[in-house]
């Protein structure tokens, strides 16, 4: 394969995102011999800081500096990438809220194939790249063949290609002159910070976390009573917040809070990667779920397949008796 590979580098406040160190690992899985270039777009001293960090990891760094790129607007960045990337390029981006905004449209404008949320890469097979994806919230996986002969855009899931401490003494090339007009029909206004709740779930060593399997708002009392009995705090997964049964500040996950408890008890949580992405520090994890196929059982330490609505009250009673 002779196609060059490019990695879109996400960064904030002068620091490269974790994905920046993972995308080069993914690139080497596609083709160990490929020339991999980091594309870093932004403005000012923060941009220069990220470029020098990346030059220690990637053999080539392309820098695009423009005041319009100070905040990452996917529409503006799409225009920049379309004008600087060569035909047939393979472009990697993180599958996060920015990558989801950028990449589908980028693939159309580059006339390249698009594979979202890649969790594994098996390599090149003729004109095709063989990747692994998940469907149905991680319940099943699929091999996906992508015809890369006209280029491809791949969004790569965080945490699937762990940083291998790649070292390079790369050179930084300034591509700012090719950035185009940086105009957009969508204009960034501000970031509104997440609401602060009455309980800080990030401060608790023990979390009793409820998911869709709790079935009804009234049943949250079952989790609360267990939490009260063992000195824990109740947190939850996304569907519980969507249903307005608990406040957003109690949500664990990439779109909620990142927690680092010692013990995590997951009640009726299936275990989507977005939810697991919010649990750090490798806690002792207990999963109680009536679906034996729930992905949470692959990451939990202890699993119990049962109806939590019956089991948890009995568990709580037993702990009370002991005390």
């Amino acid at each position: 394969m002779t196609q060059p590979i490019f990695a879109y580098i996400s960064h904030k406040n002068g620091t490269a995102d974790d994905s920046a160190f993972e995308l080069i690992v993914a690139a080497k899985k596609i083709d160990p011999a490929a020339a991999v270039t980091a594309v870093v777009c932004g403005a000012g001293a923060e941009l220069d800081a990220v470029c020098s960090t990346m030059a220690a990891v990637y053999p080539d760094v392309w820098k695009v500096s423009n005041p319009a790129l100070a905040y990452p607007n996917a529409e503006v960045l799409r225009g920049v990438l379309v004008s600087i990337l060569p035909a047939g390029a393979i472009t990697l981006a993180p599958h996060d809220t920015f990558g989801m905004d950028l990449s589908p449209g980028l693939s159309i404008k580059l006339n390249a194939a698009f594979v979202p949320d890649v969790v594994g890469i098996e390599g090149i097979d003729g004109a095709n790249l063989k990747t692994i994806r998940q469907e149905f919230g991680g319940q099943v996986s699929t091999h996906v063949l992508c015809d890369i002969s006209a280029g491809a855009v791949l969004n790569v899931r965080s945490g699937c290609f762990l940083s291998d401490d790649s070292k390079a003494s790369g050179s930084v090339t300034d591509k700012s002159g090719q950035a185009g007009d940086c105009k957009a029909k969508r204009r960034f206004l501000e970031v509104v910070a997440a609401e602060v709740g009455d309980v800080d779930i990030t401060k608790s060593d023990v979390l009793v976390s409820v998911g869709r399997g709790i079935e009804d708002q009234e049943n949250i009392g079952i989790a609360q009573e267990l939490a009260d009995t063992i000195g824990a705090v109740v947190s939850c997964s996304r569907p519980i917040v969507d249903a307005k049964w608990l406040e957003k500040a109690r949500q664990v996950g990439t779109s909620g809070k990142t927690v680092k408890p010692k013990v995590y008890i997951a009640l009726g949580i299936s275990g989507s990667f977005q939810h697991l992405g919010g649990i750090k520090g490798n806690p002792f994890m207990v999963a109680i779920n009536k679906n034996p196929k729930a992905p949470i059982f692959q990451v939990a330490d202890i699993g119990i397949v049962t109806d939590l609505l019956e089991f948890v009250p009995e568990l709580t009673d037993k702990i009370k008796e002991m005390k």
Binding site: E75, F114, F136, R186, A194, A249, S255, V263, K318
Partner: protein, 263 residues
Amino acid sequence: MEILVCVKRVPDTAENEIVVNSKGTDIERGDLVYSVNEWDNYAVEEAIQIRDNAGGSVTVVTVGDGDAEEILRREMAMGADKGILLSDDAFNGSDGKGIAAILKAEIAKGQYDLILTGAQADDGAAQVGGMLAAMLDMPYASLVNKIEIVSDKVIKIGREIEGGNQEMSEIDLPCVLSIQTGINEPRYVGIRGIRKVASVEIPVHGAGDLGIAAGSVGAAGARVKRVDYFVPPMGEGAEMLEGSTDEIAEKLIELLKSKGGIK
């Protein structure tokens, strides 16, 4: 405001265990319960609320076979004014770009100010909205969890970004937005509502009606193809506690105590 919402019929993961068939070619579909993709339901609710406040109409559209009609009727029972089914054997096996191209052809026949999709569906790809916007040369925003109509030329939107923060932008109309769950509370649809729209005619448009060349969509036009389904070999996985409820509870209490889970 003329609003189009793109919806999809999917296996309902709340109602089904998803199991790979014996040959690994597909999931077992025999006993699956299907419903409208959860994210799409929020998109339709949002469209209905915008229409009720700002006037206009809501059209729901899907690419699928005859069975997909039922979800169009469900969304019409919610309050959508019109449904359109895009169906043709030539559409089978389309990749995300193919689906976007089919939708684009239908959209080109109408005049829409606002096009909504769900943020993602059963395959977790989250791709059709962004592709569609690029094909239409319309601005796009993904993971939208707030919409505020400013005028008939521009709206203000919030996107859900990492950490529960919200990124606010303004975006010119017409535009495409992918809608995140939690933006609203989708209304309940009762049997009576479904009956009311049971006999409404739903037009079906095929490749010929849409001017789509054979081979440009469907399996023939797909550059991204699913080869198989599989369940990855479990890592170590969880130690599963089995036995009577009493036995399980006792074992669990012991474990929790040793790990500092009971204070």
